[in-house]
């Protein structure tokens, strides 16, 4: 199948290095300490953060740092064919773990000993790149909850089809069977916290694809920062500092 046509356009009309439209909103769950929704094109996820709060399972309590937990789930209506998914299937367990480890790397857990932070992410619409969207949503929700972090983790995926590196794959491109590289970075520190790839790629091509994904992460970062700053300024005005 042709994923990039001779004019250099992809199936959904994007250029190979073009991202889907990003949209983010903060404060979508009223009872949570922090929450956000994040959209990349047709992929839409929602994240809620609770905590730091008392550890539910005493035996997991740590005296020098906070416990970070994460639960990933997909809504039944999120995919094309509606099906009931069991909660603890392999895929969601794996993604939960990936998100947890990525977020743990940037949260300053040592500042909140003997407590736990719960991150719940749910996919409302799946159209490829749910992993990245979940990480971005979780970052926003954590920042909204006022949890101290080293940096804002952002994530983006890239792939390689028809011998072209493609940024931000959608579902069709994702299921084409080509390589799918998901990268998560700490933009200010310039460090990689997540790197996943299924399928194989030659080394030199892999480097190109990864570079593309890193560029995507930086684009996501600038978008997230804008949203966060805007939100912070509204809060400052509402609370009325300086008046």
């Amino acid at each position: 199948m042709e994923y990039v046509n001779p004019e250099g356009l992809r199936l959904d009309g994007r250029r190979p290095m073009e991202m889907r439209q990003l949209r983010a909103e903060i404060g979508v769950v009223s009872r949570a300490d922090g929450s956000a929704s994040f959209e990349m094109g047709n992929t839409k996820v929602i994240a809620a953060v609770y905590g730091p709060r008392e550890v539910q399972n005493r035996s997991q309590q740590m005296n020098d740092q906070a416990l970070v937990r994460c639960e990933y789930s997909m809504a039944n209506f999120s995919t094309g064919d509606r099906r009931r998914k069991t909660k603890g299937d392999r895929r969601s367990t794996e993604i939960s773990l990936v998100i947890r480890q990525t977020m743990e790397a940037c949260i300053l857990t040592h500042l909140m000993p003997r407590s736990q932070i719960d991150i719940y992410v749910q996919v409302l619409q799946a159209d490829g790149g749910t992993r990245s969207a979940c990480i971005n949503a979780a970052t926003l929700a954590l920042a909204d909850a006022g949890i101290p972090m080293r940096d804002l983790v952002t994530s983006c995926s890239a792939g390689y089809l028809n011998s072209t590196p493609l940024l931000d794959l959608n579902y069709l491109e994702d299921s084409a069977g080509g390589a799918d590289v998901t990268v998560g970075i700490l933009p200010k520190l310039d460090k990689v916290t997540l790197l996943q790839m299924d399928a194989k790629l030659p080394m030199d091509i892999f480097e190109n694809v990864m570079q593309l994904a890193v560029e995507g992460c930086k684009a996501v970062e600038s978008h997230i920062r804008e949203i966060l700053l805007e939100n912070a300024q509204t809060l400052v005005i509402r609370q009325g500092y300086g008046s």
Binding site: I26, Q233, G242
Partner: protein, 325 residues
């Protein structure tokens, strides 16, 4: 904005925007560039600056680790978070809920990262006598507080193991009954000299817990209860005959009017927290008076129109207070 999920009509939307723009113009003069978000660089004049909460050293720079406002006190630079859970300080007055009765202590949920502990030995027993707590007292703990009771107490301090201890060594602390508990974000409650308020005209008690839990209840006269207790003790025959309606044991009904006042105050605070304004006694009372003067029903306070009115009133209040300065 968070919390507001109402359908505004077009004029209401415009009026709300206008009020908020007025607020913006009032506050933007002072700190437009003091707002930082995670990993933003904080300009520091010298190397000798002290790095406080919410900051992080990254290479040679000082960066923020939370979203907030940069504050500087002499050499200290810190970031005050805009949204966070409650962070206790010694002497804070808090409202919490009992979640467990444990040996010699109660555990309270207070919206902090851990549960707080109220020791049996750090509270005055209802009989008011200072004495050692015996095993009998320990067995009777459930007669004082049981699970799910709402309690008001004071932060005593942190223990060596990091747990938070509370105390309730006065008649004004203790179980809260016959009223309404409201949960708002803790950053909307400022620490003040006075957190207990008795609103005489409504016969209502208002407690602003520093942890964002607010109690609005029927007024209980603490001192009178003590006097009455003493009277009761002095001549036990008399109690049976005359003073039943006044005694604290008697579950008299709260009059309907007072219940409506309680709900009115609660709704005023709800509107304030939905709009994200700081909650304090004066502004809440102003809002209650506003709703009364407009003859609004209690439920009508939660509608879009009243949100707009409150926003306009707040803009007005802040602009007059800045003009006075």
């Amino acid at each position: 904005m968070r919390g507001i999920r109402l359908s505004f009509s077009n004029t209401q939307k415009l009026r709300l925007e206008k009020a908020l723009a007025q607020l913006e113009s009032l506050s933007s003069k002072l700190n437009s560039n003091a707002t930082v978000i995670v990993a933003d660089k904080i300009p520091v004049d010298e190397d000798a600056a002290l790095k406080g909460h919410g900051t992080l050293e990254m290479g040679n720079d000082v960066v923020a680790s939370v979203c907030g406002v940069v504050e500087r006190v002499n050499k200290l630079v810190y970031v005050r978070p805009l949204r966070a859970r409650y962070k206790p300080e010694i002497g804070d007055i808090i409202v919490g809920r009992v979640i467990e009765v444990a040996p010699k202590r109660w555990r309270l949920e207070i919206n902090f990262s851990q549960d707080a502990v109220l020791m049996l030995s750090s509270m005055n027993l209802p009989d008011g006598i200072q004495r050692r707590r015996t095993a009998v007292d320990e067995l009777n703990m459930r007669s004082i507080f049981v699970e799910n009771d709402v309690i008001c107490a004071e932060v005593r301090g942190f223990q060596h193991d990091g747990s938070l201890h509370l105390q309730a060594r006065s008649q004004k602390y203790g179980k809260l009954e016959r009223g309404k508990l409201l949960k708002i974000p803790p950053y909307l409650v400022k620490r003040r000299k006075q957190h207990f308020h008795h609103l005489d005209q409504y016969g209502v008690d208002l407690i602003f817990g520093c942890n964002g839990l607010i109690w609005i209840g029927e007024h209980v006269d603490v001192k009178d209860a003590m006097v009455e207790d003493q009277v009761n003790k002095s001549d036990p025959q008399n109690t049976h005959s005359s003073s039943l309606p006044g005694s604290s044991e008697e579950p008299t009904d709260t009059p309907l009017e007072r219940r409506q006042y309680i709900c009115r105050i609660a709704n005023a605070i709800t509107v304030f927290s939905a709009l994200g304004f700081m909650v304090n006694l004066d502004s809440v009372m102003e809002t209650v008076t506003l709703s009364l003067s407009l003859n609004l029903g209690v439920h009508e306070m939660l509608e879009a129109e009243f949100h707009v009115l409150v926003a306009e009133q707040e803009a007005e209040r802040r602009s007059t207070s800045t003009r006075r300065k």
